[in-house]
Symmetry: C2
């Protein structure tokens, strides 16, 4: 990256889509290849994903889940076993037809999701109520043959985790579905600093084969919605299609109840579009691969370098990841480069600072600078990182809240859509026809029925009949 | 698993292959599915793989390597760019021909290995000598369309890591190749307790497209060789095929020098076939997901249970993974079940032990039992785990060494092969014809030319011409 290139990204307010793509490339998160529609995740992007994996794995394992690995391929006949499921996925899967030099007797699809494989496996290994529940998770890549693609947001191959669990009772499975929704919600809010609405998808928007789909919905800087994680309750639908039974205490053969839940590399896109700016990436400290960068100024000065490395050592002892950027480039260029990479806190140290026993803290999120005494630099870093994390969340939440608009009538909704971006929160009768009409007329879809929503007394904005729910509507990625 | 089933595995000395498969299934490492030739890695098997990943990741990162993720697919034209490479892999790849409902304009193979993708990427991102070296690694699954398959050893899909690096000089790349070979060798010996021979593959056995292939070769309990990791030096062969150039300090456009190296889930198979026995799995403490199992006997006794959990808590504080097995089953059944799972150390505690302030240690590797004072149980566990680890390695090494047979003539080799299993160490002239003759006549292949081998003064066992190397020959998995 030359000095000139590093500064050139499109402005976020001029062309949001171009800004996003520029940033993904310039911050060295991803690259393209000759594999159309797929992305290369570069070291910096992958380090973020590894941190996400570590955080989620910890939460999954603490709640009793175990990791497994299922085959990459699904035979066509297995995919076809659950009718709604195959109808949902068949149009967008990649098919393997040849192995080596021979044509296969049966086509294999590259997994778009692994419900069918888990179902077959559960049916195979579970005999008795003593074998239940099984709480499994898988980290892998999946493939969906999308027509238009964008880094992290929509890609023919993406990385994800998919949880799959089976239970004795519907109640227990429903509890699991909601528990994992909250694991996602808490992770997004606490770690990625993304405020989310936790809710239920409408019948129209739910997962192919699910009885209920729950979602955590985030709003991007430009007001567009991004579904950031979903959790599905399957009832015993798949169990019936796959003959997943067990012998219960009462000696009766019974069907299992099932859930699945997933989060993908897409949340990296969500994080970028929530926090970043025209200088590049802004990473929340809780997920940043490098939390602090120290930039020595006037590097010929041995003491400056020594003090820089001393601070770095002391931060590492505290478990804080840190880099000393003592490259040959000018301070200004190094500032810009580290800003592009979204490192939450920069510490600048020059000879004149040393004379006065201070250094300068520069926050990536607000771009504010502070003078800090060298004697208290370690505790001040700890405090500052926590302050940045909280403040990024609060800022995102304030903006998100200011972009949620309440409408009681179709006219109000129309006005909002024409003049503002963001979500519309409006009463709805619960009928799919009205939902479809909103989509066709206004280009927005129902995002979710919030979990904490009151039963409403309003009237459906489309048909005027008594409303069943208040629903968030919005444009979606 | 019923009480009866848990005991039934074929004896290792009666039918080694069946013993191996029985063990993989009964220890719940893997399961089959309707996806022919692929395996399901169950929680216990995957936990072992996660520990392997963690150990290797730490070693890779300490030596400056970064993780990335490349696409799952490779366009046919990209695979075709390096002639030897495509000839080596094309006969065994799976081909995607359709995406969604449409036929693809160009077939995509599911990656059998990712050299070609890394080459394209390196050519794309590296402009100057300042961008070198790049030290990358990828964790993923790869596909090779094998005809006969066995859990972990040979499977149409398997998990692995593939390292790919590029360097300014041939020397630096060669150094990297050997460095990573030793990372593998050390990992296998220190963590999996598998003694290995570090050596170079002959021209005939090297990787498709490599100038040199190094290998770590292990010998299984039955004397058969298992290649447990390989490291390749590519010279600038791929660089020329993919136009991977950079601008050097002297302002000249130059080709990069390249390496790749890989280790797979196969090493789990190697570990099983090195250490396990008729009671099931035997895991080295350094890789075991659960290092200690505590079996309270006479569980109605509250004190027995309390003391069991107290020991477990104290072990956890020390970072030692432990499980209390207080299930309803009989002690004998629980012993057998935990032996099948290969947990290195079992602690038995009963009411009569408590009266005398002792407990019983039972080693999984030797099946020996010791009485240990409850007051010193924690330090004794630490000591015992280290003792088990060392002793497993020593035992495997003694057996391996006793099964390496030196031959100076073809007659000697013939005699050894007819009467003994293991490796034959013999002088060879270096000509491929003689190597091929050994394979065709005796069904054994050259495993490697050892790194620490002396230049030999003997004569080739086939043609009688002056020998160039001493080579290990053996049957291979």
């Amino acid at each position: 990256m030359s000095e000139k290139e590093s500064k050139v990204i499109t402005s976020r307010d001029v062309d949001f889509a171009q800004w996003y793509t520029d940033l993904c490339i310039k911050a060295e998160l991803v690259d393209y290849s000759s594999v159309k529609g797929c992305m290369i995740i570069r070291p910096y992007g992958y380090a973020i994903w590894e941190n996400i994996q570590e955080e989620l794995n910890q939460r999954f394992k603490e709640s009793g889940h175990e990791n497994v690995y299922m085959p990459l391929f699904i035979p066509e006949s297995l995919l076809n076993k659950e009718k709604e499921h195959v109808e949902g996925f068949a149009p967008e899967v990649a098919w393997v037809t040849h192995g080596g030099l021979e044509e296969l007797p049966e086509r294999l699809c590259v997994r778009p999701t692994s419900e069918t494989l888990f179902c077959e496996h559960f049916a195979n290994i579970i005999k008795s109520y003593r074998d239940l529940p099984k709480l499994y998770n898988q980290w892998c890549s999946v493939v969906r043959w999308e027509k238009t693609t964008r880094p992290f947001l929509r890609s023919r191959e993406f990385l994800w985790q998919e949880g799959h669990t089976v239970h004795q009772s519907a109640e227990e499975a429903k509890e699991e579905t909601l528990k994992m929704l909250h694991v996602y919600g808490d992770f997004l809010e606490e770690i990625l600093a993304i405020p989310v609405i936790r809710g239920e998808k409408t019948e129209k928007e739910k997962f192919a084969g699910a009885e209920k789909t729950y979602t955590v919905e985030a709003m991007m800087y430009n007001g567009v919605a991004l579904q950031s994680g979903t959790s599905h309750y399957f009832g015993d639908g798949f169990a019936r299609a796959f003959h997943m039974t067990y012998l219960d205490k009462d000696n009766q053969e019974k069907y299992m109840f099932q859930t699945s839940w997933g989060m993908t590399t897409r949340v990296i896109g969500a994080m970028i579009m929530t926090h970043s700016d025209d200088r590049g990436l802004v990473l929340p400290p809780n997920i940043a691969p490098i939390k602090v960068v120290i930039v020595p100024i006037g590097k010929s000065d041995t003491e400056v370098l020594e003090r820089s490395y001393e601070i770095a050592r002391n931060l590492k002892v505290k478990g804080i990841s840190v880099k000393v950027d003592d490259s040959e480039k000018s301070p200004g260029f190094r500032f810009a480069e580290n800003e592009m990479r979204g490192i939450p806190l920069r510490i600048e140290i020059g000879p004149r600072d040393l004379e006065r026993d201070v250094c300068v803290f520069a926050r990536r999120d607000t771009l504010e600078k502070y003078e800090v005494s060298l004697s208290s630099v370690i505790p001040e870093v700890v405090k500052m990182l926590s302050e940045i994390q909280n403040s990024m969340y609060q800022k995102a939440k304030l903006r998100r809240d200011s972009m949620i608009h309440t409408a009681s009538t179709e006219e109000e909704m129309n006005e909002i859509i024409e003049s503002m971006s963001g979500f519309v929160f409006a009463p709805w009768c619960g009928n799919m026809e009205c939902e479809v009409e909103v989509k066709e007329k206004y280009g927005i879809t129902s995002r979710c029925i919030p979990l904490d929503g009151d039963s409403t007394t309003g009237k459906c904005i489309v048909c005027g009949k008594p409303a069943k729910h208040h629903v968030y509507f919005g444009k979606q990625y």
